[in-house]
């Protein structure tokens, strides 16, 4: 299974590497694009001092974590990118996956691995590293173990959103653009501390699409900040449940989508 996956993504990687200069420019471009946003925020913070009570280092922690996770997801789940998958459906090339004696999900993961998105991940890592340098946090073994757990769970969460977006293409190809609000909008929103948003937005991202459980609450834990919303103290530790729960639900929805596709065709 793994070897087949690696072989499949190597195809995607090789065809990207064929255009080396374009690739470099694209990777730089995506790094630059994300960095520009953060730099502007940092510049504004020199005048304002804090955002919702969070100083630059703390915001950088949250922002960097989200960007790292989203950038990683963007690469690994490239095959499920709704923008890309909707084209596959439109052209009918998804049928080819059905005709091969290999797992559909494996083929989906293997169909694309867009390396230039590494730029966003790298930028996130840089911002996150900056935050660690500025903040001087007290690290415990528990925190050190939990941090990568949070990271992987967040990748799973965003991946789940992509999978849902791809699955909706089985019903309507045009909706894939609307999904962007959740994926890109969601990641932008989660980059800032949740308590700055309106009540309904906060509630939605805690109880409906539990993004806040993946980065904001764990961040409160790492940064040693109290919860301004007064929710139970175990909230920061629900990240793996939320992240993998969303991913599992997304794959269940995907299966429904595949069943729909095979019963009604294109």
């Amino acid at each position: 299974m793994l070897s087949l996956y690696l072989r499949l993504i190597s195809i995607s990687l090789r065809s990207q590497m064929q255009y080396r200069l374009s690739f470099l420019l694209d990777a730089l471009g995506s790094t630059f694009a994300s960095l520009v946003e953060f730099v502007t925020l940092a510049a504004a913070l020199t005048r304002f001092g804090s955002v919702g009570g969070w100083r630059l280092g703390e915001v950088a922690f949250l922002y960097g974590l989200v960007e790292m996770a989203f950038g990683t997801m963007d690469m690994v789940f490239s095959g499920f990118d709704p923008g890309y998958f909707s084209q596959q459906i439109r052209r009918g090339t998804f049928d080819q996956f059905l005709l091969r004696p290999a797992s559909l999900v494996l083929q989906m993961f293997g169909s694309e691995f867009i390396l230039r998105r590494l730029g966003r991940m790298a930028q996130g890592a840089a911002v996150f590293a900056l935050s660690l340098w500025v903040l001087n946090l007290p690290w415990t073994p528990g925190k050190l173990i939990y941090l990568p757990v949070v990271f992987v769970s967040t990748v799973a969460f965003f991946g789940g959103l992509f999978v849902v977006g791809a699955a909706t293409c089985f019903w309507t190809v045009e909706a894939s653009e609307a999904i962007n609000i959740f994926t890109y909008g969601g990641s932008t929103m989660l980059s800032y501390p949740m308590h700055i948003y309106a009540d309904w937005m906060r509630r939605f991202f805690i109880f409906v699409v539990p993004g806040a459980l993946l980065v904001y609450y764990p961040a409160l834990f790492f940064l040693g900040k109290p919860d301004p919303l007064g929710l139970p103290p175990f909230m920061p530790f629900l990240a793996p449940l939320a992240g993998f729960g969303v991913l599992a639900a997304a794959f269940a929805f995907w299966q429904i989508g595949v069943r729909k596709y095979t019963s009604t065709g294109t």
Partner: protein, 343 residues
Amino acid sequence: MQPIISVVNLHKEFRVFRHHRGALGALRNLLTRESRVVKAVDGLTFSIRRGELVGYLGPNGAGKSTTLKILTGILVPTSGEVRVNGRVPWRERKAHVARIGAVFGQRNILWWDLPVIESLDLLREIYKVPAATYRRNLDHFREVLALDDFLHTPVRSLSLGQSMRANLAGALLHDPDLVFLDEPTIGLDVVAKERIRQFIRHINRERGATVILTTHDLSDVEKLCERVMMIDHGHLLFDGQLEALRQRFGGERELVVDFAEDYPDVSVEEARIVERDGLRVTYRFTRGAVTASTLIGRLSARYRLLDLSVREPEIEDTVRRIYEERLLEKPGGNAGNEGTVGT
């Protein structure tokens, strides 16, 4: 012996929604659900034995691709029984597709950016082809399909003919006992077409693969298939030998005569002249109304003949007649199954 494909009373209905356009239309799409039911396949029954080479004909929209999609397992029917290699295709997808090969028209089964040989190697891994089998098949196809010229070329750079040959090799690498070919000669020149046909004949005769061939090119059918299934509006109109089709519906035959002299009037009863080119005259006569030998007798009694030949009608014309004149209408009961299924 169990047939390799068994289809009983297959039905496939699609619900077609009226699609409203525009932003406001999208809202309407959500609220109202005007729909109608389209029967793509309406009570299809047939079976195919191992080793047959069957032509599957029908106009566009007749239900051919729907049937193929059901048989290959990528579409689930509304009702009916289907067994391929003893399995229900859509229920055991992976096991089913591991034993079949399928090439659909101009769609690729290979990877666009990869050299052909690498695509084939990747397919080997996906289909879990044993190394010895792979070697054997590869060498064989390289020879029979002349792949060496472009074995290391990426698929995107191949011509249509080369790409079809490469795809055929890929589809047969794992020794499937059942092969679906949808429009394999479309867009190819005469030489390339012939090459593909020879290959199809070869895999059927020498390698014993059962082949289902859908095509619009009736010369493919004439040259390859003994058995023909005709479908229209989801019904099976005809299922039998090609010759039977021709016999029953090939209404007109041609008699081509080379006269010894330039006779002014060479008309003959029960036949009409369709072409006159110097000393060569082409007559057309209705099968069943008069025999070729009667005509020849009449002509040779009146004139001196140098040479003659009898031409059968083009299957093209036969099929066109069938569609246009609705010669095989479903009489409201069962489909007009004609001829013996597998003589």
